[in-house]
């Protein structure tokens, strides 16, 4: 039997890494299996390149990545502290909501405990992903991102409790994320398909649905808080906090979807990719500015928040009008362009450009509820369109924040 040279074996190993296989034992086994397959074909008379290409062509896209994912899930499914922590946090949130609606004492404390629970879930999730994908690159990035998000949530807790250091924590969190995320984008942009198995990429791919469900749950609880407060004649501040959380979470998530594109890009359209990198990063920084709080100038806050949403909308519009293979692209492109106008109108209302019906839209409950129903209908109708779905959730969250 003919044996492969070290250089040929290295070429296959490199391809496995490009395909996202980072778990060493699995990589070694797949390498051995592929080499055996190639050797068999070479014994039948093929040269290495033809044999390798023949074996390679039989492997569907993302096949190896899915094998790794399935293997890691099988190896780690016995005990999942993240799920337990997530369920406890969800129960705390539900109890807090009931307490708040019924005006029972302790609702505030329960909400704070929920925020602490959310931080613990986030930390547990990051630790678990580091453990599950223990051979993948990206530990530092995931630890830093987790700490920055926790700092922001802790800042919010401190603010509610009137403790010193609240603003510093929130600013540190937001500033850190505004620097870290674009740096990661540049890193992935320059990766030349070598970072498909990066921890953050695996984490986002594995948890897309969970992130979206968490955002929708927060929006749901925000709605319950808001409308029960309106009906009972109380303030709706707590509901707004949930919408802000959902908005920030979805904004970061929408931005992180570009990473998956960057690690897979083939470099055939440099100017498009560079434009996406710059536009999305500018949008993210603008998007995070209002999250620092009310220390920022009112006008800057308005322009930043709504410009960010417009840029995100335009990216989705460009995707569905020019690059998507979706069968729904002919509907989604006009819908995305329609949604691009919404933040512009919101900005106009905030800056009092309009008068009459249009000027009072954001305080008109009939419009708020009708538009919310319209967005939910879009979400259900196009639930299989990942990018559009994420944009709709972001639009719902921002739609429900009356005072950005």
């Amino acid at each position: 039997m003919r044996s492969l040279t070290k250089a040929q074996i290295d070429q296959i190993k490199e391809d496995l890494e490009v395909q996202g296989i980072s778990f060493s034992p699995l990589k070694e086994e797949l390498l051995d299996h592929i080499v055996c397959d190639i050797e068999l074909k070479m014994d039948e008379g093929l040269d290495f390149d033809t044999a390798w290409s023949s074996v390679h062509d039989q492997i569907p896209d993302n096949h190896f990545k899915n094998i790794q994912k399935e293997t890691m899930q099988l190896l780690n499914k016995k005990f999942n502290p993240v799920q337990i922590s997530g369920v406890i946090s969800g129960c705390l949130l539900a109890t807090a909501t009931i307490f708040k609606i019924l005006h029972l004492p302790g609702a505030g404390l329960l909400l704070l405990t929920f925020l602490v629970g959310a931080c613990i879930t986030l930390a547990a999730g990051s630790t678990r992903s580091i453990y599950v994908y223990r051979e993948a690159k990206g530990r530092g990035a995931i630890i830093l991102a987790t700490l920055l998000i926790i700092a922001f949530i802790a800042g919010l807790c401190f603010k509610v409790l009137h403790l010193p250091g609240a603003s510093a924590l929130m600013v540190a969190g937001v500033l850190g994320l505004s620097i870290l995320f674009p740096l990661l984008s540049i890193y992935f942009y320059k990766s030349k398909q070598k970072l498909r198995g990066h921890l953050l990429i695996c984490l986002i791919e594995d948890n897309q649905r969970i992130i979206e469900r968490v955002a929708l749950t927060l929006i749901g609880f925000g709605l319950v808080f808001n409308y029960s407060s309106v009906l009972l004649g109380a303030d709706s501040f707590v509901g707004v906090i949930f919408f802000i959380f959902a908005c920030i979470l979805t904004g970061l998530y929408v931005y992180s979807l570009t990473w998956g594109y960057f690690v897979n890009r083939d470099g055939s359209n440099q100017s498009r990719d560079l434009l996406l990198l710059v536009a999305s990063s500018v949008a993210l920084v603008l998007f995070l500015i209002p999250a620092v709080g009310f220390n920022i100038n009112f006008l800057l806050r308005q322009y930043a928040a709504f410009s960010a949403l417009v840029i995100f909308d335009l990216i989705v519009l460009a995707y569905y009008s020019r690059f998507s293979d979706s069968v729904n692209k002919k509907i989604l492109a006009p819908l995305a362009s329609f949604l691009t106008f919404y933040p512009v109108i919101r900005l106009g209302i905030k800056l009092q450009w309009f008068e009459g019906f249009l000027g009072g839209l954001t305080t008109n409950n009939t419009f708020i509820i009708s538009f919310l129903i319209f967005l939910i209908a879009l979400l259900i109708g196009f639930r299989k369109e990942g990018l559009f779905r994420a944009l709709i959730i972001l639009t719902i969250a921002s739609h429900m924040i009356p005072t950005l």
Partner: protein, 115 residues
């Protein structure tokens, strides 16, 4: 033969059976043996084989040893004693199931499905 939809629930048993007969085998060898025994009708893809092997290993039904072969690592799988017991049980269960299935699928007299 459209075997994919039928084979899924039986891969674990097939792997255990082959290992109980051969002592120790590596991944490629298992897939080739299945192909050979089925005259090419059954094919274990990477995606079907490796997650199962890792699962069986995590359930302590298999142990592994590694050797360097032609400059690369080759991982051999061997059944543990509980793996041997499980192999016997699983093969007996599958045999019984196939027998029941044969009865169920036997065409009734006069049926248009009778060959």
């Amino acid at each position: 033969m459209k075997s994919k939809e039928y084979i899924k629930g039986t891969i674990k048993t097939i792997v255990l059976k082959l290992l109980s007969e051969s002592g120790r085998m590596y991944g490629y060898e298992i897939s080739q043996r299945v192909k050979e025994l089925s005259s090419g009708e059954l094919e274990l893809t990477y995606g079907a084989l490796y997650p199962i092997l890792y699962k069986l290993e995590s359930e302590k039904l298999l142990v592994t040893t590694s050797e360097i072969v032609d400059g690369r690592v080759r991982k051999y799988y061997t059944l543990t004693s509980s793996g041997n017991e499980t192999a016997k049980t699983k093969v007996a269960e599958l045999d019984r199931f196939m027998e029941v299935l044969r009865h169920v699928m036997a065409p009734a007299p006069g049926s248009s499905l009778q060959v």
